[in-house]
Symmetry: C2
Subunit: 288 residues, 2 copies
Amino acid sequence: MSLARTATIASFGGRLLKLTHNATTTNCEMAFNLYLPPQAIQDPSQKVPVLIYLSGLTCTADNCSEKGFFQYGASKRGIAVLYPDTSPRGLNIEGENDSWDFGTGAGFYVDAIKPPYDKGYNMYSYVAEELPKTVFAAFKELDSGRVSITGHSMGGHGALTLFLKNPGKYQSVSAFAPIANPINCPWGQKVFSGYFGEDQLEKWKEHDATELVRRWKGPLDILIDVGTGDNFYQQGQLLPENFEKAAKDAGVAGVNIRYQPDYDHSYYTMATFSEDHINHAAKYLFAQ
Amino acid sequence: MSLARTATIASFGGRLLKLTHNATTTNCEMAFNLYLPPQAIQDPSQKVPVLIYLSGLTCTADNCSEKGFFQYGASKRGIAVLYPDTSPRGLNIEGENDSWDFGTGAGFYVDAIKPPYDKGYNMYSYVAEELPKTVFAAFKELDSGRVSITGHSMGGHGALTLFLKNPGKYQSVSAFAPIANPINCPWGQKVFSGYFGEDQLEKWKEHDATELVRRWKGPLDILIDVGTGDNFYQQGQLLPENFEKAAKDAGVAGVNIRYQPDYDHSYYTMATFSEDHINHAAKYLFAQ
């Protein structure tokens, strides 16, 4: 569980730390980034809340750290940002590097049950349990009782499903271009077949935000941004309308999907709206 | 002179355009990016001013467009940002791809006089004359009479030298970690030898910000950020103290160098301070 620090980078008055640790859930060394806002550095006795940002297919912790500008808003509001990686690395499972949308860089925030991926593709347990436990043990300036979650594309799927599967665990959730109904899109069907098996529909549904929101009790306050110029949205990989309809059918209020004209699937979109998502999280992280 | 558009990307309410054109000064097709802020789109009759951002060694127009966060401040203030490339591309001059700090990606914003680089390594004329002429001809929503300049590292050198060599041409100048005295650092000595010749000291001095500020008449208002954690600053490649001292010796006021504790040479630094540099330019671009 011990952490090694590979870099400390000044950013918006705070520090972006590049860290590694040997993770038991994923059975390998994992790298991640942690942004400590200036408030955590100036007064370590004043615990700051944490926003977890889950990245999309092919990404590491670095992409959003460099291009998403979450540090800008996080610095203003006094929120730490935790950027996990997107899959185990170097397990040497046959086929894990054969495609960009399955295996390495595509852990999909699930725990695989199908061999050989069950030997380490456990990004659900890693992100929901092991990583935060490790980080809160090492950084006393972080408040383990105030954690929100967001993410992009595959990471938007991760944020929505982790939130909906664990009522009360996260103070809030938001997403950018989430894969909102994976059991009905090519990306989701490919990875769920590979990690769970083709005949595991109940298991698939456990990790499908649209299926989960159908069973939600009570209100929500979810902020989702989807660009109308997003090619993956246009190709039916994201299906936010299905999520919206499922919530509506179930009488669940508070799903706020903003269709942003012309915005695409890239980090230019996260950069543009990151401050809105930081402020959405801050509303709950700083609620009395 | 005709432009081709290869991409249009929504960013902070405006549009980042990726463009190419056949440039006569550099003897090849050149790519560049242009950010049009929302103000230029909403009311094209209201001309917006332009900030030119010159990139550092190895970069293209894309690095800062993705990582520099300039669109954020430019969108707020209503300023277009022009991101040129850093050298000619594909001239097939022998040796131009042999090192990362000379030739391709390292045009240094000078006009070469030494063969074979004199056949297209004319980034001074390209940035000072041909590119803006091309852009203003194509985009009537830009105000050719209000142009400021900034840049990073090699591009900080470019910004300072283009400003100091052309009084009145630019409304303001700023720089991040500029190579401020190239005739006295390894990077500068290597490229000036290659583009000008080893025995061309007078020519070298024409493109050295420290030499140019010695001869400046009147006040200045230059904002420069240098990170104290910048390895190239520590290695003596930047030499901002020489620039500062030369200005002081010459009685030139208004050189404001901020040594930012722990910041490094990366885009995390530009992202952090980009809004300050946008505001510095805005002070002059919107002066009555």
